[in-house]
Symmetry: C2
Subunit: 352 residues, 2 copies
DNA sequence: ACTGCTTTCGGGTACGTACCCGTAAATATA
DNA sequence: TATATTTACGGGTACGTACCCGAAAGCAGT
């Protein structure tokens, strides 16, 4: 069991080029102090040998550590959704800590645009090497990432995208398609002409995500020539009583609602309402693998949950930055996450 | 940006214990040549400092490479299912090659027990450090893994499990639950009293998997007090004509079959039959994200595919061996894969 | 006390890369 | 031509661990 002796390192390159290791190192890292002639010669040999740097040795010898900033919403009582990405980040960090990589969390408040601005400025002051962010506030995110661009700091979006920006990558759901899948599941057993209700419950100022989801949802009906009436309702208050009030009103206005689609993780509130008001035989679909939702999935009030692996999103985002900054390999510009379907029967095996 | 200076390595341990680095190294690796007194003292300091070895440096300095044997079915015209695990293995190997880890593939023929025996003997002769295997032939797998046990070679099962064996880990589906999910999807829109057909198409000698899936499938009906008649049929020939013949016969005998559940990836053959014989309005569910199946998913003949991430299974299995052999960390004894539901609407985002 | 053997331990080099520092050569300035 | 400045490059050490080799210490038997 001997080490692969066919491996060629800087030493061999230096030998072949009749230069020192230090000079080869200069070429590899595009440092100054090498004549054009030597540089060319060394680069040729590097290509010829298909030189792959040994990352172990590289990171071991290198002194400087790489700092990644994480700019995501704070976990609030509002929703514990962002716990999952946080886990993914920690998992990734544990794996690559040995390579001299550190992450620093910058949390902002989803109800407070200014907190986003404040945190993003802190990141710029700190002078980090890479950024992972959820662009919850679009305008502010654009300003911030433009500044990153200027400073050559790579950044990755998760959860939702701003396609026009030059992000290193977007890692998250295809929201339109996600709504489309929701419609398919909802209509899989819906009867011909009954009504369908779309519910959006969100305090959040921006609801960019929601619009794309609903568009996908409606498109499915169009594509399949289903002319069920789609009733929609917006709720700015997220507490149970407000939701119950709104729901009571809707059911009063529309007697024949057969299926409900909630566009985010607050579906459990609607589930509670259905349960408390003893309404059965109504299909209910919503988003995200959070505790409250799984409970209602288990009791059968929620039929399906759709989920986009938030933990995995963040994990991959960190890894994408790592790949760029340490390995120097390229990264897929858009990585759509799977649109996972969770039911009472398979939830126990779900991997967020 | 300086390296974390709070890190204590062997050097610091040696200094505190008034011994050389070499002696500390002996203690860490349980080598001989250290007095009981010194050993104890060093171990105490190690514990006190919560010493974490630097894997980079460790693997860089170590000369011996670690060889992992992969014992899985050959990719045949029969089914390209095993292409996916192969990809997962290659992905894992690429990631950890730098750590001095190599994999060697040993393919066997699913129709030939002897080929399994032959390949497993080759592995034992080679003297590898770890094994990843799909225990397609149960008896032979038991014999082989017992031999591994004797030689202290860790092994990981994927795809299906032999619970009694002391494998390092099982990484694969919970087959019973998988059949259960299949039943849920199938019955989600099934009408009261029509018949349901379970199809098993397999040349393979052993079909241990199949039995567990069918059990789960039937249990769902019991649990939900559905008394639909469940017709079952076995086919030993996998070619289209044979399948079509069998199917014609079944439909002749049972006019009112409303839904079909195929227990493995050969569902596309049944789909072709339904398409060619112009039978509509029959729900069809089967297994695995392979090209042929996705095509029928797309045309709407197959309603759902269930899949257990075969690529990911193999990737994780390699990583589990790596963790044990290199990092020395422990590994989950059973890692059930998600029971993924694939539809026409979400298949393009599926990650195998 | 001498030889031979075992146990216990330390010095030192190697892994492949990063990077500091010093110096020779090339070029510019006087 | 002499001196200052820049450019090009090499020597050598460091990162943290693995492991070879040799030596000192301890112990046995004579």
């Amino acid at each position: 069991m001997e080490k692969d002796s066919t491996y060629f390192g800087v030493k061999e390159i230096a030998r072949r080029a009749n230069v020192s290791i230090a000079t080869v190192d200069r070429v590899i890292h595009n440092r100054t102090g090498v004549s054009e002639k030597t540089r060319k010669k060394i680069n040729e040999i590097i290509k010829e040998l298909d030189y792959q740097p040994n990352i172990l040795a590289s990171r071991l010898a290198s002194k400087n550590i790489i700092i990644l900033a994480i700019l995501i919403p704070r976990v609030s009582e509002e929703t514990d959704f962002w716990e999952a990405p946080l886990r993914g980040i920690q998992r990734a960090e544990a794996e690559i800590k040995q390579y001299g990589i550190q992450t620093i969390n910058y949390f902002f408040d989803l109800n407070d645009k200014d907190s986003f601005i404040k945190q993003s400025n802190l990141i710029l002051e700190k002078g980090v090497n890479g950024v992972l962010l959820s662009p919850s506030f679009i305008e502010q995110s654009i300003l911030f990432t433009q500044e990153c661009q200027k400073r050559k700091i790579p950044y990755v979006f998760i959860d939702s995208n701003i396609p026009e920006q030059h992000s290193l990558s977007y890692i998250g759901p295809h929201l339109f398609k996600s709504g489309y899948v929701g419609a398919k599941l909802l209509t899989y057993r819906v009867k011909s002409n009954n009504k369908v209700l779309v519910v959006n419950i969100s305090k959040e100022i921006e609801n960019y995500n929601y619009l794309q989801i609903e568009e996908g949802f409606r498109t499915y009906f169009k594509d399949n020539h289903m002319d069920n009436e789609i009733v929609r309702i917006d709720m700015k208050e997220t507490d149970y009583l407000s939701v119950a009030r709104h729901m009571t009103y809707v059911f009063h206005m529309h007697k024949d609602i057969e299926a409900i689609f909630v566009t985010n993780s607050r579906v459990f509130t609607v589930a509670s309402f259905l349960q408390n008001s003893h309404r059965k035989n109504i299909s209910l679909i919503g988003y995200d693998f959070i505790k409250e939702n799984v409970q209602h999935l288990n009791t059968g009030v929620i039929d399906f949950l759709i989920c986009h692996k938030p933990e995995e999103q963040a994990y991959r985002a960190v890894m994408a930055l790592y790949q760029t900054l340490v390995i120097g390999s390229s990264v897929e510009k858009i990585q759509y996450m799977p649109i996972d379907i969770i039911t009472k029967e398979n939830y126990e095996f779900y991997q967020n």
